[in-house]
Amino acid sequence: MNPLELTLGIMTAVGGFVDISELVFAAKAGSTFGYALIWVFAFATIGIIVFSEMSGRVAAVAKQPVFNLMRHRLGLKLGLVTLIASVISSLITCAAEVGGVALILNYLTGAPYLILAVGLTVALIASIWVIPFEWIERSYGLLGLFMVVIAAALVAIHPPWHQIASGFVPQVPKGLTTKELLTFGYFAVAIVSAVMFPYEVYFYSSGGIEEGWSIKDLLTNRLTSIVGMGLGSLLAISILASSAQLFGPTNIDPEIPGTAALQAAIPFGKWGLILALLGMFFAVAGAAVETCLANAYSIAQFFGWKWGRHKKPWEAPRFTITWIALFIAALAIVLTGVDVMTLVEFAILFSILVLPLTYLPLLLLAGDRKFMGQYANGAIAKVLGWFYFAVVGCAAIAALPLYFLTSGGNG
């Protein structure tokens, strides 16, 4: 295990953890319910760590990414349903990320939003075309670390640490009306969906194959999952806590993604704001790249095409055409003028519906001794895996009713 590689991997995971949905829902959760939803972030983070570790282990041991084996496990019909659902979910998520980055660029430059969206998509396509895989992942992830300024801002405003600490204890605030209780439930489901997006697992396992992981990389996989995603989650929690401290008492509703950047502007002024916006730009642009590639990985792996960005684009031609087409489709959604927040809400809804279909075959594969031998799921991974599968199943059932009953969390 190379310590430099491991550190870079962990830092990349930290910088790449936050995407547009986490940014929006962390800020809104903090301003609406104070610190009471911190535990949901922590709880969902353990879930994504469990499944990411599993998918990385399957990639390292069976040498196959999740979607290659998903079809074998689920069969052609159910596999195709899963593929279609995950492609729709990741496409909407990608459109939300592209729209989100264009909005952030709009804050930074003042240029028209839709023109920025077109320019940005061209730039993202060019970056995937030109840069080798490991540096695509690292450059966006590492530059996303500018967002640490938001965590530093939280420390600078001297928040009530005991209240933040008590937010890690599972709770439902007392004295809520039925409507508020439903809204709390909707936020909890949305946070679980945002943290456990299915594309993250597809991207992580395919990334493991791209980087040629083998059994000797199992420790790297475990540490990257646990430490990288754990620290990334703390970044998202700092957005929530800052929002609770700064926006909640003044009844500010952080309706647009850029509001979170103001958290750094309050203690650090103009440079705090610029650093936060830059961090958000690279983190969300990285998420756009990940969702698009994850989608192309899924399609190529399902049909047995050559895939991977460790190859030159012309060496995996159908994969290349697919990711370019998906970026263009995401841009087309943005160009319809649909609001970014609406896209974020749809992305959250579709994702939570897809989550059980994503995680069931992964659980079965990672526990299958025929494929995994001695590296099959142990007792802890089995218990945690099935527990979180039950949780995402319940969340998937509750998501649509909660969305309609609360008008998408707006009460």
Partner: protein
């Protein structure tokens, strides 16, 4: 697993990815061709690869859609060309030798061969 042993067709072969002797993905086992007759031993003779091989595994209206979008091509890969069966089916020949990779080759003509580091 060697291809001459006993094989559970559905759980150990169907829908597995195919990797050729150059280490390239070149399709998925969409169906299996069997030789034999009722009451006699059935032997798998070839893997069938391509959208045409979905027929019988999908409802009719889905197949009509598949034919419209992807055609009905089927490539037959003789069982004798299989090296091992595990988490993927590994072939002992390049994909081109058994008629695979044609769509990839056609798609490659559309991609500029420059600009990538």
């Amino acid at each position: 697993m060697k291809p001459d042993g006993r094989i559970k067709l559905v759980s150990e072969l169907l829908d597995l990815p195919l990797i050729d002797s150059e280490g390239r993905y070149c399709g998925v086992v969409d169906d299996v061709e069997l030789d034999g007759a009722a009451g006699k031993t059935l032997r798998p003779t070839a893997l069938l690869v391509g959208p045409g091989a979905y027929s019988g595994r999908m409802p009719g209206w889905v197949m009509a859609l598949v034919r419209l979008l992807a055609g009905s091509r089927i490539t037959r890969v003789p069982f004798s060309k299989i090296r091992t069966i595990g988490s993927a089916v590994e072939l002992e020949v390049p994909g081109e030798a058994v008629g695979l990779n044609k769509s990839e080759d056609r798609a490659e003509r559309w991609i500029p061969h420059k600009g990538a580091l």
